[in-house]
Symmetry: C3
Subunit: 415 residues, 3 copies
Amino acid sequence: MENTIFELQYALDTFYFLICGALVMWMAAGFAMLESGLVRSKNTTEILTKNVALYAISCTMFFVCGYWVMYGGPDGLHGAVPFLSGITGDGKDLGDTYAPSADFFFQVVFVATAMSIVSGAVAERMKLWAFLAFTVVMTGFIYPMEGSWTWGGNAVFGMYTLGDLGFSDFAGSGIVHMAGASAALAGVLVLGARKGKYGANGSVNAIPGSNLPLATLGMFILWMGWFGFNGGSVLATASVESANSVAVVFMNTNAAAAGGLISALLVARIMFGKADLTMALNGALAGLVAITAEPSTPSALQAALFGGLGGLLVVFSILLLDKLKIDDPVGAISVHGVVGLLGLLLVPFTNDSSSFSGQIIGALTIFIWVFVTSLIVWFALKTVIGIRVSEEEEFEGVDIAECGMEAYPEFTNGK
Amino acid sequence: MENTIFELQYALDTFYFLICGALVMWMAAGFAMLESGLVRSKNTTEILTKNVALYAISCTMFFVCGYWVMYGGPDGLHGAVPFLSGITGDGKDLGDTYAPSADFFFQVVFVATAMSIVSGAVAERMKLWAFLAFTVVMTGFIYPMEGSWTWGGNAVFGMYTLGDLGFSDFAGSGIVHMAGASAALAGVLVLGARKGKYGANGSVNAIPGSNLPLATLGMFILWMGWFGFNGGSVLATASVESANSVAVVFMNTNAAAAGGLISALLVARIMFGKADLTMALNGALAGLVAITAEPSTPSALQAALFGGLGGLLVVFSILLLDKLKIDDPVGAISVHGVVGLLGLLLVPFTNDSSSFSGQIIGALTIFIWVFVTSLIVWFALKTVIGIRVSEEEEFEGVDIAECGMEAYPEFTNGK
Amino acid sequence: MENTIFELQYALDTFYFLICGALVMWMAAGFAMLESGLVRSKNTTEILTKNVALYAISCTMFFVCGYWVMYGGPDGLHGAVPFLSGITGDGKDLGDTYAPSADFFFQVVFVATAMSIVSGAVAERMKLWAFLAFTVVMTGFIYPMEGSWTWGGNAVFGMYTLGDLGFSDFAGSGIVHMAGASAALAGVLVLGARKGKYGANGSVNAIPGSNLPLATLGMFILWMGWFGFNGGSVLATASVESANSVAVVFMNTNAAAAGGLISALLVARIMFGKADLTMALNGALAGLVAITAEPSTPSALQAALFGGLGGLLVVFSILLLDKLKIDDPVGAISVHGVVGLLGLLLVPFTNDSSSFSGQIIGALTIFIWVFVTSLIVWFALKTVIGIRVSEEEEFEGVDIAECGMEAYPEFTNGK
């Protein structure tokens, strides 16, 4: 009897992981739609190709080496057995409380999320194959190393353990989102702005997205997928306590996104006099990033306020980055990086097991590691194969140069 | 042991609520895609903005006051504790059989559905901020009051209790869909038709939607989300009886949508001589609305027939409304209002606990309450801030006037 | 107590079936988006109409007769009781371990998948109503007969039983995908190529898809839905063993799709010198089809390799079919037929209960049955009502001829 109850708990927790993982996988579609809606039509095929390829590469690299780097060697990793040996295994005998493959599946979709963030920021002027080469290093090594210091529990270069310092990042405001944004920032700095984005006289030229329904769809997909992203990070649901926690996480994730959207919409209205749809979309995403570091301890009211703070911050961050001539076509660095940091700093307000100093040290560790290693990789790629398309190709659109096909061959009017 | 079994039931029911809630949240994307596909490209950014903003406002208002209005004061509402206090709580001690936050999450996404219905009907000529102001009142007060008389179980103005009269609305053909349509009808009457829709000589000018793949995607999203909408309304799944009921609801929801689609496709073929895609999409949605009042008692055959009846009715209703010069660009009043009423009237055929008189009294209560209060709010908004854009803005498209950006800046050809 | 544990297992397995079924239903949206993105804009409304209508017809026909044909008469089919009688039934008393209606729901969405495959291959020149007439026969008779010999366990024409011969097809590489492709091949042969596709001098003219973000979205939807397609085919999840199996299936399905995408992207790069997005999309789908015949026994590494083989094969198959002047606008015959066969042949490498001879006999049985019966039906339709639009209608686009409305009335530039 007890055995059967254990079996049911195991089955329910496994199923919960798999469904949450499928929702996170769905976020890959969200990033693809968001980014392809926010770039110009002449650069759409290429950003779609980047998004589908980075997802496939992320899944493969994490499987080949990332998971091992992040969670230790084979000894500490019996969970990894099934996906190498083909033995489905009876995790029970090994002390698991859910299927090892379900854990891997959930983890692997997280890697792809981190990498998706980069693709938007470097849009409209980067070489496709250089980007994919970066993807290999980022998902096979840079992200997993950083993940081993945080969720993996390893000491940073054997020097200090983030958990002991009071660092806490529930579902990855820092570990996933700020990490992705740090790699993106390094890429944008090496790459430079798009031609025509910044005028000689300090003017900033708006380059509107070519397909706002797609961008909106992408935001909705991400919002939906985020229930799996945060909800699955409770790591169990088959008890009253964990079920309550998962439910609170779903509720707060929703409340934070709503708060972020409303706040960005209002702030943009006050500043620009119009209802700015793209700011509203980024506001919702900012709300989601802000709550991701700790969605389980705030009340829904606090979650909505934290999200609202994210929505406020993202508008100013996007404007500031343009002042600094850091050209991020989709606002990814602001949404995931700046607001990711905010998310980390909000944790200690509702979670006593974390501390501000711990959050700051953790944020610095993640940022420095990812930014510096990414910078090295971007420079190496720049030297060896080049990372930027020619000026002519950029003018013509990277779709023809890189992919040989237009995204909308019958619609575009040459603008 | 018994305790553990209780924990598992609690966990499974909670997870089921959360997944169903996530599916209903997804319907917000469905409405956004459906509506943006059915309007002209010059009004697309604005309808997207309305859809994302109304979802965020609905979630926030229901949290701030709607849930309390609908389900009673703090005493009757321990379920509300977690989202205000941040205590995850042990619902078990309070007699709950699933996480209180999961209940809130499921309820909150319903509110947004009701409001989404309004946005389509008033498309292409309403001021954005007037619409959002209406959203605040509708989701914070009008809908919750009506909900308190039905699912909340309160007597209507202390006069009569709908349940006692034999009113039954399983998942909300009336409570959600007809309610949304009633508010929409009031809005359309105050607002008037789009310029150029109706000729002086009684002619009706078709204004085709600008992006039918988007509209089709929206229909599919709604169909999928409806499994959560109806399936979650069983309110439990962790027993043989409730699991069977949820399964029947999924099967019947699917059958009814299929029936509605086929019937609308055939009727339109007979009447217009062509396979009318937009009628087929509205037919599927009509099938879904028709079965929503009672998806658990019909056989699949009955469900398909009920859906087919909905698909038939919606074609004639759309034509009739145009004859009456009630201009509803996406057919929302027909799909959700007229067929919502049909759904209520079909309940007594398969559910003995309901009566025709109860259904009619319930429908009248919902319609009169929502229509009259909405009319008052729309008039008040018209007087205070105005609800209709200028004739010039309408001609130019509300996207530029209200949002300052085009949805497809590179595609449109000025038609 | 034991009774309650049984109830929980029953409830969890039922819920798992329903969620997997909803994911498979979602694949209908995936096919609709994929196909409408890959055809020209003048043929988009019609392919959308075909996709929504075929889903509705499939669901209805399977309910009316297909399920009975596939799984035996009323005696063997107590599971069918609920959807005819309206009795929810207590499946428990009948020895069921999950809700009968959930089984029906899961099965019915599979039928639609098989039929969706056909619609892409015959795009841009077939008459809509002839296609829908074929849909009725395919989903009500051709597919269910073939299904009765495989998943239904019946002897083929009373002559031999495929299972006894060592045939194994876990989730339908052959039973669903190759079957759909066989019907599609018959249709394409009877129908002929699109005007202008093949030049007199043996040249092949590329006809680019009109909306690649839609096609990409379709691929992502299919990828996500496939977790339900393969994952649900384990048929149970409420024990450690079945939960492990479902988890392995999710992991392997993801790995195979990733492998297929990467392999097709690289092969196309080597052959054409560019990153070919449509080949990458078809590569991912080929990876999914390749693993579908056996996603539970390979290791993740094997799954990625099998998927990669599928991605390789699909590129060459698409090129070969064009050499043979078999005009398949979306590559459906290659993705689902050729790679479906590959999937069947890969099973014996990891699953000892299958044999190569069994797989070959099974594949031949499916192909011959579906191809021959389809051919007869296509010819009959050609004779009676005609299956191809006039040359003028094809030039103008089937949207106006068949549906009377353009998909993008404001965008297209007459190309």
